[in-house]
């Protein structure tokens, strides 16, 4: 292969176009620095001590902007449904290579630790950094570890489906309960007591919803991981 390689017109024009665009972006952004603006986040921080939990990001994700999270759960749900639709299996599992001894024994050691850590992150999501999404992904990663270390293992589809249904339905039902009890969708009807602020049992529906989100994310991600890992093809 010669050192002198010719640049194609596509590369050159793509480079020029994107460089021009980015330079103008940088130029505009550098010239207009946002000065001190009162942002919505400041208002939410002030509201948090009376309506929220210790971790303000959790309050925002689950409660103040809880509707976005419901939508996000829906996106994840649709995506895992789509992945299942695309890669559904007619034949048996097809990982052909057996993993080596080290991975097998390490996964046995690590699996419970990761699961417990995932559950911890999920349950304490309203007090410390973390929460349902992070915890759910951790649980799914533990499942991934099991799946790659043991080629015959298969997480039963019925279990995943039951967990996912339970979590999804109860999330919407909690929202509808708020609508029923106080005419506001996703309202915190177990009104939080300020004296409990910072305790494990505090914040009304917020920790409950975040655990539900964790279960939902964990099962959807586990489903996606299993589907992508064990396809019927092996092309």
């Amino acid at each position: 292969m010669s050192i002198k390689r010719s640049l194609s017109t596509l590369t050159l024009s793509g480079f020029t176009l994107s460089a021009l665009l980015i330079l103008s972006f940088i130029n505009i952004l550098l010239q207009n620095v946002a000065t001190n603006i009162e942002r919505a986040g400041d208002g939410l921080l002030k509201l948090n001590s009376s309506e929220g939990v210790a971790n303000v990001v959790t309050t925002v994700v689950v409660y103040f902007r809880g509707f976005d999270t419901l939508g996000e759960i829906a996106v994840l749900f649709i995506a895992s449904l789509g992945v299942g639709l695309m890669l559904e299996r007619n034949t048996e599992c097809t990982i052909k290579v057996q993993s080596n001894f080290m991975l097998q024994s390490a996964s046995k050691l690590l699996f419970p630790i990761i699961i417990i850590f995932g559950l911890y992150v999920m349950i304490y999501g309203h007090l410390s950094p973390g929460g349902g999404f992070q915890g759910g992904v951790l649980v799914a990663s533990a499942v991934l570890l099991l799946l790659i270390s043991n080629k015959d293992l298969e997480v039963p589809h019925a279990v995943i489906s039951a967990l996912e249904t339970l979590a999804g339905v109860s999330y919407v039902l909690i929202g509808l309960m708020g609508l029923l009890l106080s005419d506001v969708f996703l309202f915190n009807f177990l009104s939080p007591n300020i004296a409990d602020f910072g305790l494990l049992l505090s914040g009304g529906i917020i920790p409950i919803v975040y655990i539900i989100v964790g279960i939902k994310v964990g099962s959807e991600m586990g489903f996606i991981v299993q589907n992508l890992l064990k396809r019927s093809d092996d092309v």
Binding site: N32, A34, A40, F64, D68, V75, A79, L85, L179
Partner: protein, 474 residues
């Protein structure tokens, strides 16, 4: 009753389908249809009782998310719900012969699409709009690849890539809005948008235009549309052109009227729309595949709506709403009829129409095409006339010429199809249409004739709606 139910119930339905699956094979289908009928009832209930309401979610705006129901958003909500209900009713009798595989997933997807389109229209929080943008997008990608043939998957991949790129630009715009304005509530953004530095305003507007431009199918960001329509299954195309693109169009112009009430980019957008229309019709002229041809016709109609909305005055918006209604009804009729033809003939080349032996379907197709064309006495006429009138009032002669030229080109290929349908004599056996399908198709055509002959039934409501839309109630 609460407007949040429009989103909450379809989501509840989607999440609970495994439970419904235990109650037999048809439970999912019937529950889905019943739910849509209930939503339709809910829509009319809101229309008759209130007409305007702000629905809080979690906490009060501007810090929280809220749904705003006005006459104009209700119009779109009712349009989407009734389109989806008709679709379900149509599919219920279609599925006995040729069901989609894994039907319950199909029902989940169409209901999610409905929820997301309604959420897009009702939401008054820009990040919430992004979330619904993505839900509508992702369910549309799967619906378009649903048949898992290589052309369907190709359509799905193209749709997904363009959608993902669009969402990057949208989220970039939202990020800039939050950094420079500090709020996500549409009302607050609208108040502060004019005070922004000019460059930032321009940057945000361009990013929003690119982000929504992919979705509202505007030239040159509409290269993917024809492939998606051709690869997707015919029934689903009815949803794409009657619901998805309409929801995006509404949101785009809702944001435009809120952020730029003085029409800073108006002229540019008008020319863009008119040029898109002309380009789409010229490209449609040489298509022989029916779905692809009607994709280009959709592009043309959407571009006409875009032009009318971009004029940014009450009369033009009223005209745009008329075209939105007429186009949705007509495209539903066309794609429903094409689905029956495709099932029978297993081909979608336009030559297929030569051997179509069903006077009923031929008449339905003809009425729908005449309405799309804007012939007097059909629904499409009123809208087109009003657009041309308001363009004439603004003195935009070149745009009028472009639209008339585009309509003439459109007429050429519709009459070519009509010629195929009515002049040939080597026909196949009679194509049997079930009574349920006949009722729905006849209802759609009747609707086109009623709107066309008595536009005054709607015009007052649409005029009020357009005033509200321009006034920017958020």
């Amino acid at each position: 009753m609460s407007s949040v139910l429009f989103v909450a119930l379809p989501l509840l339905f989607g999440f609970s389908t495994p439970i419904l699956g235990y109650f037999g094979k048809n439970a999912v289908a019937y529950v889905s249809t019943l739910m849509q009928l209930f939503l339709l009832y809910l829509g009319f209930d809101l229309l008759l009782n209130e007409g305007f309401s702000i629905e809080l979610i979690s906490i009060a705006p501007p810090l929280g998310i809220s749904f705003v129901v006005t006459k104009v958003s209700l119009l779109f909500v009712l349009l989407f719900t009734s389109v989806m209900t008709l679709f379900s009713l149509y599919y219920l009798s279609y599925r006995s012969e040729k069901p989609y595989r894994d039907e319950s997933k199909f029902f989940i997807l169409i209901n999610m699409l409905l929820a997301a389109s309604i959420g897009l229209v009702l939401s008054s929080d820009i990040f919430n709009i992004y979330v619904f943008f993505e839900i509508a997008g992702i369910s549309a990608y799967i619906l378009s690849a649903y048949e898992k043939s290589s052309s369907a998957l190709e359509a799905g991949i193209k749709y997904l890539i363009t959608g993902a790129v669009a969402s990057i630009f949208l989220i970039f715009a939202i990020v800039l809005i939050y950094i420079y304005i500090g709020s996500l509530n549409l009302g607050i953004i609208a108040q502060h948008f004019e005070l922004l530095p000019f460059q930032i305003k321009l940057l945000i507007s361009i990013l929003l235009l690119i982000g929504f431009g992919f979705k509202v199918e505007i030239f040159p960001l509409n290269f993917w549309v024809s492939d998606v329509y051709q690869g997707s299954s015919t029934l689903v195309n009815a949803l794409f052109s009657a619901i998805v693109v309409k929801a995006y169009l509404f949101v785009f112009f809702h944001l435009l009227y809120l952020f730029l009430p003085h029409g800073e980019f108006s002229l540019f957008l008008i020319y863009l729309g008119a040029f898109s229309m002309l380009a789409a019709e010229v490209a449609g002229l040489r298509q022989s595949h029916l779905k692809r041809l009607f994709a280009y016709s959709s592009l043309g109609q959407v571009a006409l709506v875009f032009t009318a909305f971009a004029l940014q005055n009450t009369q033009a918006i009223q005209a745009a709403l008329f075209i939105v209604l007429a186009h949705s009804v007509a495209k539903m009729g066309i794609f429903f009829a094409l689905a029956l033809i495709e099932k029978e003939h297993e081909s979608m080349e336009s030559e297929t129409l030569k051997s179509l032996n069903s006077p009923f379907l031929r008449v339905i197709l003809l009425i729908s095409m005449l309405s799309l064309l804007g012939i007097p006495l059909f629904a499409g006429f009123v809208g087109k006339l009003l657009v041309l009138k308001s363009l004439a009032l603004e003195g935009m002669l070149p745009i009028i010429m472009m639209i008339i030229l585009a309509s003439l080109i459109e007429a050429v290929y519709y009459f070519k199809l009509a010629g195929y349908m009515f002049t040939s004599d080597k026909r196949r056996d009679v194509l049997k249409v079930t009574w349920a399908h006949k009722t729905i198709l006849a209802f759609l055509s009747l609707l086109l004739l009623i709107i066309g002959m008595a536009p005054f039934l709607l015009s007052e409501y649409l005029f009020e709606a357009s005033k509200l839309m321009l006034g920017g109630v958020s």
